[in-house]
């Protein structure tokens, strides 16, 4: 088995199988950290790192892992990488570590990692699994950034902490509060699904013609 081509893996991860708006998994953390773009970026990078390396490790040992304890093994491997992220953040970015709070630890129970490990890394060679991890992580990060862009812009008038909108702007407090996160996520899902519905329609028409 040679695995899929990198291009296909990335298209799947970023759009066709995007974990957030396609499979509706891993959204717990995607909502909590999207009040500032910088938080989302760090969270996204952390998740990408954890997913990619967990998939790599699991794929390498997939032939030696007994079937019935594989879930436990996966959880342990994921935890190891998450602990690495946690220690790294605490050491170099203590502010960020405080802002993200328990959500760094919650990467462990993020369904994206478990889902990809179970669905992809169990069956594919290490290199493609690693790429798949990066692609899924990137898809997740993109959605996070999109949500936090809207929330931060409307909620504080800033992008990555820089003031974009002038003094005339009245902050929409609702965007910073939890309900705002739900509404923006719903709109993102709505847009993404509508576009893919259009795509499907076109494909059908082409097939008919």
């Amino acid at each position: 088995m040679s695995g899929d081509s990198p291009k296909k893996i990335f298209i799947m991860g970023l759009w066709k199988d995007n974990p957030v708006f396609r499979q509706i998994i891993g959204i717990c953390s995607s909502l909590a950290v999207t009040n500032f773009m910088i938080n989302s970026l760090i969270m996204g990078l952390g998740l990408t790192f954890a997913t990619a390396f967990s998939e790599l490790t699991i794929s390498i040992i997939r032939k030696f892992t007994p079937k019935h304890i594989r879930m436990m093994v996966q959880v342990l491997i994921i935890s190891v990488y998450v602990i690495m992220i946690d220690i790294f953040l605490k050491a170099y970015y203590p502010e960020m570590s405080k802002a993200l709070g328990p959500y760094v630890g919650l990467i462990i129970t993020n369904c994206i990692i478990m889902g990809r490990c179970e669905a992809y890394a169990q069956k594919n060679p290490p290199l493609s699994s690693f790429l798949d991890g990066i692609a899924s992580g990137a898809g997740y990060t993109l959605v996070l950034l999109a949500i936090s862009f809207v929330r931060e812009l409307l909620g504080f008038g800033t992008v990555f902490g820089f003031k974009v909108l002038g003094d005339w702007w009245t902050n929409w407090t609702i965007m910073i509060m939890p309900p705002g996160a739900f509404f923006v996520l719903a709109v993102v899902i709505w847009i993404a699904r509508s576009i893919s519905l259009e795509d499907k329609k076109k494909e059908k028409e082409v097939a008919k013609a």
């Binding site: 602990i83 309900p179 739900f182 847009i191 699904r193 519905l197």
Partner: protein, 196 residues
């Protein structure tokens, strides 16, 4: 940190600091399993039960084993193992002695291991430095709050089946908007009491 009455934490974690609606924890199963009121209630009970006991267990493990040994950084692994082991244990006990309950809760128990709310509450407990009584109030309240939210959502979703929703918004999209409206309603409680 100021001493907060455990009962205040209990009330706050049901209403103002609801696990789903203000901390976004446990969303995955929340969206997937909220189709019927009865199953939602079952899942809610199972979550409340496991949540309370694992938080207490984790409290003792963290403060009696990990802190004296300076192994705080291992807490993620230790907590998740405790949760997984506890769920497995409960499953075996319930299956052996309470078969009726097992059929009611059985299918939900494995799902709970990966429910972020359970791990989240244990982590919050550590970060906010709760005492034992406060942790009990917090975990019990969070479980009840979670149940409340999922049952309410299941009720709304049943009515939603008859509504006509734009094509791209069907399914998860509209569910999330409904959750957003619920969160908005719960923000109204925030005047009662606030914890961090």
């Amino acid at each position: 940190m100021i001493e907060v009455n455990p009962f205040v934490i209990f009330i706050a974690s049901i209403f103002t600091n609801n696990m789903i609606l203000s901390n976004f924890l446990g969303m995955c199963s929340f969206i997937a399993v909220s189709n019927e009121i009865k199953t939602s209630l079952g899942l809610g009970q199972a979550v409340t039960f496991v949540l309370t006991f694992t938080t207490i267990l984790n409290y003792f493990i963290y403060y009696n084993i990990l802190v004296p040994l300076n192994l705080e950084y291992l807490r993620f692994i230790v907590f998740i193992i405790t949760i997984a082991a506890f769920v497995q244990l409960v499953e075996m006990i319930v299956e052996r002695y309470l078969p009726n309950l097992y059929y009611a809760l059985g299918i939900f128990l494995p799902l709970i291991t990966v429910n972020c709310a359970i791990l989240g509450v244990s982590l919050f407990m550590v970060i906010r430095k709760y005492t034992l009584l406060q942790s009990i109030g917090f975990s019990l309240g969070s479980g009840i709050g979670w149940t409340l939210a999922i049952v309410a959502l299941a009720g709304i979703k049943q009515k939603l089946k008859r509504a006509s929703v734009p094509k791209g918004l069907e399914g998860p999209g509209i569910t999330i908007i409904v959750i957003g409206l619920m969160a908005l309603a719960f923000v109204g409680f925030s005047g009662i009491v606030q914890i961090q």
